[in-house]
Amino acid sequence: MSKDLGDFLDRLRKGNIGAWKLGLFVFLGAAIVVNFFIHPRHAEYFLDNYPGHWAVFGLVVSVAMVLVMKKIVQPLLKRPEEKDDD
């Protein structure tokens, strides 16, 4: 059963990557479109009044976090890993 499932997931993984990407973009685009019609009952932040702002927030924060931590912070903090038999 584990092997069958593994093979199935592997086929999905190696399938049409382009279709997966297209599916993701369509889903995300649809979510923003829906946001134009669905608003919070009470805006917790003033930005809640602008459709798609949580999308921008997620994208900007994730990209900025990875860039800052990997490109600026990690080179300063990086040390060799501790070996098991040290």
Binding site: S2, L5, G6, D7, F8, L9, D10, R13, L24, F27, L28, A31, I32, V34, N35, I38, H39, P40, R41, E44, Y45, G52, W54, A55, V56, F57, G58, L59, V60, V61, S62, V63, M65, V66, L67, M69, K70, K71, V73, Q74, L77, K78, R79, P80, E81, E82, K83, D84, D85, D86
Partner: protein, 593 residues
């Protein structure tokens, strides 16, 4: 209120198991591992609110069983997680690991039901010692060192609590473990608070956690990720709700943890930093201290125990099967470990707050509570942490473990069925709680006025996490894990340790060395001189006295030997002499008197 109703302290069942384990032989005893957790679940379900096990001690009352909504909530999830953890460890034949885990879980139950600081402290230390063994029993040099650092740091935390409770007792005359209002907190309360914050892994006291958990045993880490920090969360919620410092510390933790997780390589270290982050949400909620944020913090602790245990079980499977949890050495395992991936992903989607997984119904309650308490910036930073959580735990870790590379050819050890069963139970509970949050909402400390599934809230989560996924898609080559260890505050306590060695141990050793030389040169010579004097004294004084006594006894004996002639007339003569002496003495005494 003391009630003599039915109450069974779950800790006793675990302690009994730990005490009995050394005497078992063979392998049959492993079925007994499930008995204490099942007893604990039964006990927690059936216990009524009240105070039980009240013992007089030093003029105070030690309360072993304070049962109320808060303690029952934590005991409830502790019992469930203990069962899951024991099932996950069922294949292990190492009785020492099971004993350490049992004592550890017993300590957690002891803390949760403690009604006074002394009881709390005893069980707190029990947890500290037994969890150290869960690290040491990994039996690798790196684990031994990490365990020692862990133990020293927790000893420091324990001492802060001990100092606080003793000073508090002297000042207020009570050891009762009750809520302290921020306005009335005195310096000893701050000591106790700091001690709790050590176990809660509050930044900058957190470094022991990501330093140690990745070095614990595969099964030990599953217990440790659930109990230590959450027992501290319970203690803070019980004693220090409304302390602003916790709000600040919690928010810093939430963001700090995700930032470090973004650059870590070891799967269990990534998850460890996310404990810091997730406990940050809880501390922020406790610090704000409204009914909704306390509910949010405690229900998030409940959910966190389930999904974090599941995540550590998934990462533990990687380590168990592949022999490493370092992401740069993993990848392409999807086809060979599909069930591990599926169960892991349930935990990952839960911690990320994806709708219909349990993190969604708990994390958002905390964030909503902070905003409702007009702390918008706190809520905003917690959303930043939510993005970082999905990046590292939801995307980076599974991507680099299961995808990322072509099919992995590394040798994999088969994973025992019990590990899958434990993960399946945890995954089922994460989903059940996510779909039907009322199962936990109804046992929270305060009435719940929060609707998690409003359409906008679901849409907000979809947008936030969906576009975080897009960000990861753009950044997946940048975030590739590197085989490196990143400096953290542990460098501070390693520095303090080394400074202690340099500042105290080495100078003391040098002084000791000099003292040894002085002793050899001066002390030893003086000792030899005094020994010679004693010899002379012994020969001249002691021996003379002893010899003199001996010769006197000898002479007296010879005299008495001589007068015993055996002739009657000699004895009569001596009797006459003696009688005359007696008569003279009596006459003289009578005359003198």
């Amino acid at each position: 209120m003391t009630i003599n109703g039915p109450f069974f302290h779950p800790a006793w069942a675990f302690l009994a198991l730990a005490l009995a384990l050394p005497f078992f032989r063979g392998t049959w005893w492993r079925c007994l591992l499930l008995v204490p957790p099942l007893i604990a679940i039964w006990a927690v379900v059936h216990m009524q609110e009240g105070s039980y096990g009240v013992l007089p001690y030093l003029g105070q009352e030690m309360v072993l069983g304070r049962v109320d909504r808060l303690s029952k909530l934590f005991a409830n999830v502790f019992a469930i997680q203990a069962l899951i953890g024991m099932i996950y460890a069922l294949h292990l034949r190492d009785r020492a690991q099971h004993a350490a885990a049992s004592v550890y879980v017993a300590g957690s139950f002891g803390c949760v039901f403690a009604g006074d600081y002394l009881t709390l402290f005893i069980f707190w230390e029990m947890m500290s010692v037994s969890s150290t063994f869960l690290v040491w029993l990994n039996r690798k040099p790196v684990s031994i060192r990490a365990g020692l650092r862990y133990f020293l740091f927790h000893t420091l935390g324990g001492l802060l609590i001990l100092a606080g409770l003793l000073l508090r007792y002297r000042a207020v005359g009570s050891l009762a473990f009750i809520a302290i209002s921020p306005e009335n907190a005195r310096f000893f309360d701050w000591l106790i608070l700091t001690g709790f914050c050590v176990n809660a892994a509050a930044v900058p006291l957190h470094a022991w956690l990501p330093d140690t958990y990745p070095e614990a045993t595969v099964t030990g880490a599953v217990f440790m990720c659930a109990f230590t920090t959450k027992t501290a969360v319970y203690a803070l919620a019980r004693g220090f709700a409304g302390f602003e410092v916790l709000t600040v510390a919690g928010t810093v933790m939430a963001v700090y943890g995700v930032l470090y997780a973004a650059i870590e390589n070891d799967a269990r270290r990534i998850l460890s930093y996310h404990i810091v982050s997730q406990v940050g949400y809880m501390l922020a909620g406790i610090g704000i201290g409204t009914a909704m944020t306390i509910n949010g913090a405690t229900v998030h602790a409940y959910a966190h125990i389930l999904y974090k245990g599941l995540l550590f079980m998934g990462a533990g499977c990687l380590l168990f099967a592949a022999g490493t949890a370092r992401l740069d050495q993993l990848g392409g395992l999807l086809r060979r470990m599909p069930w591990v991936m599926i169960f892991y992903m349930v935990g990952a989607l839960s911690i990320s707050g994806v709708p219909f997984f349990n993190g969604f119904v708990t994390k958002n309650m905390t964030i909503h509570g902070t905003v409702a308490a007009h702390r918008e910036w706190i809520g905003f930073m917690l959303e930043v942490a939510a993005v970082g959580t999905f990046v590292s735990v939801g995307l980076k870790l599974p991507y680099f473990a299961f995808w990322a590379k072509p099919d992995s050819k590394i040798e994999l050890k088969p994973i025992p069925a019990n590990m899958y069963v434990a993960m399946a139970i945890a995954a089922g509970l994460c989903l059940a709680m996510g779909v039907y949050p009322q199962m936990v909402y109804r046992i929270l400390p305060h009435p719940v006025f929060y609707a998690p599934f409003e359409v906008y809230k679901v849409l907000q989560a979809v947008l936030l996490l969906g576009f975080t996924g897009l960000g990861f898609f753009f950044m997946h080559t940048v975030i590739k894990p590197l085989p490196a260890r990143n400096l953290d505050f542990d460098i501070l306590y390693r520095f303090v340790g080394n400074a202690f060695v340099a500042g105290f141990t080495r100078p003391l050793a040098a002084v000791d060395d000099i003292w040894t030389q002085v002793y050899r040169r001066v002390g030893l010579a003086a000792l030899m001189g005094s020994a010679r004097s004693a010899g002379v004294f012994d020969r001249q004084a002691i021996d003379t006295a002893v010899d003199g006594t001996a010769s006197t006894v000898h002479a007296t004996s010879r005299f008495f030997l001589r007068i015993q002639t055996g002739r009657l007339q000699d004895y009569l003569a001596w009797m006459t002499v003696a009688a005359m002496l007696v008569f003279t003495l009596v006459w003289w005494l009578a005359d003198w008197g």
